[in-house]
Symmetry: C2
């Protein structure tokens, strides 16, 4: 894929927060956009995105769509499902790419839309526990995976351009159907957020001496609990849309925790060692 | 505390793995040791520590203690409890500092020892999920907390020298009794390891397509599961010694997870939002 052969385009980012803002930074740095337009219904985000130079201008959805080549949708997944059909109504040649963490509901929302082909469903596997335009990260997405879902439903040119953009910002592309995506995402992302939220509540509920936590908190604690800082406005819709898969994984996780509990209660140290050795096999997956 | 006014000492590190090896690097870099002697019953660790230049020489316990000023004990907490009384039998003027993640059993093991005053019980709140001398980290401990326990039982000169060393490698000192330490450590370190081990087993048990996990695994997943790579030889004795406190926190954690489960099952989205907002309060503690 020759990046140099493709002219930069006018790109709209709907939702100039952590994901949209970071994407805008990468698109600009990579010379992929001749102009970046922002759309955001939060006035504070809009002005912050302008102030930080993430976008060239903030516009209404209608205005920006009319003059764009590519439109990225980076808003909470419940709003994305609501907006996408109306957005495709307004689209002619433009390409619309969503970036949400769940995929089944969004592809279902436009399955029979006459402009379905202009839409590419994606999930870049990158994020932080922070939110808003001020959380945008210059080196975001680099070296990470992006999942493209139900690609056969996208027009060839739309898919090709989406792949070009994701490659150009350093991402590896994996294709998967939306249902499989949501199952996998429950394991490798959504459950981590649930356990982090629950771990934060565990510590906050039992430990009243905050000063002591602060003094003692180790790097290990920070890494397991940092996702608990994540924004509920983003995560509630994700857990809601992916409820069944998250419940499956959560039930399995509670079962696994009960095994550790039972080992401690019965002082079954040999089995406790086995459980930890089993867990060590995760080294095959994350180095 | 004037580092320059104190002469470097001959220091023995018993257990030249992640913690002992990292400490040796810091002591040498800080000009705090005129000579660093290593003791390790694992031949592979001994030769690796020499090869990496972590220590000047490997010796038997008896030899090294006889010619040292300060002895650090950085071995699994069950072995530390066993060795410490014999070690204090051999000590005259020397100072012995242990670095284990549990403190009640070790202080109990030498409570009535005639040389108890030469011992300082410490827990530096630093570590990684790796182990062995090759895991030693040059910038370890910097900016982290170290807990000193039951300090009234240590001789004044021993305590002062221990504090000097920890300050000199950039640590903040907190004093606490050993029982309180073990309660706090269950919250801010031990539970994080249990949840990480259990999360790894959850994903490995349910997800057979390792390739898919590998492709999809996000930074969030990596951070919540990385502690699952930790060494069972180190962590089994910690969980065993701190069983009652870890069980308390684990029971609370399972209760918290059940709340998330119940919200999802009953589609109680308002309460799910509240649980996440509660968890967000962890921002006060970790930035």
């Amino acid at each position: 894929m020759k990046a140099t052969s493709i002219e930069p385009k006018i790109i709209t980012v709907i939702g100039v927060g952590l994901i949209g803002g970071s994407l805008a930074l990468r698109l600009r740095a990579g010379g992929l956009a001749s102009r970046i337009l922002g759309v955001d219904n939060q006035e504070a985000h809009a002005s912050k995105a302008l102030e930080l130079g993430l976008v060239d201008a903030m516009m209404s959805l209608e205005e920006s769509v009319a003059c764009s080549d590519t439109i990225f949708l980076s808003i909470p997944v419940d709003s994305a499902v609501q907006i996408l059909p109306n957005l495709l109504d307004k689209v002619d040649h433009q390409i619309v790419i969503d970036l949400g963490s769940t995929k089944s509901d969004i592809v279902a929302a436009v399955r029979h839309h006459p402009r379905r082909g202009r839409f590419v469903a994606s999930h870049p596997m990158w994020g932080t526990e922070y939110s808003g335009p001020q959380a945008a990260v210059a080196g975001a997405f680099q070296g990470k995976s992006v999942i493209l879902c139900d690609v056969a439903d996208s027009d060839a040119d739309a898919l090709e351009w989406a792949k070009h953009l994701f490659h150009a910002i350093g991402m590896h592309i994996t294709e998967m159907d939306a249902v499989a995506h949501d199952i996998h995402a429950a394991y490798v992302s959504h459950i981590s957020h649930v356990t982090s939220f629950a771990l934060a509540n565990t510590v906050l509920a039992k430990e009243r001496e905050d000063e002591a936590i602060f003094e003692l908190a180790s790097a290990g604690f920070e890494s397991t609990v940092r996702l608990a800082k994540s924004n509920p406005d983003m995560w509630l819709p994700i857990l809601r849309q992916n409820k069944d898969n998250v419940l499956d994984v959560l039930n399995e996780h509670i079962t696994q925790l009960r095994r550790f509990k039972s080992c401690l209660e019965r002082e079954n140290w040999e089995y406790l060692r086995e459980l930890m050795q089993d867990a060590n096999r995760i080294r095959r997956i994350i180095q």
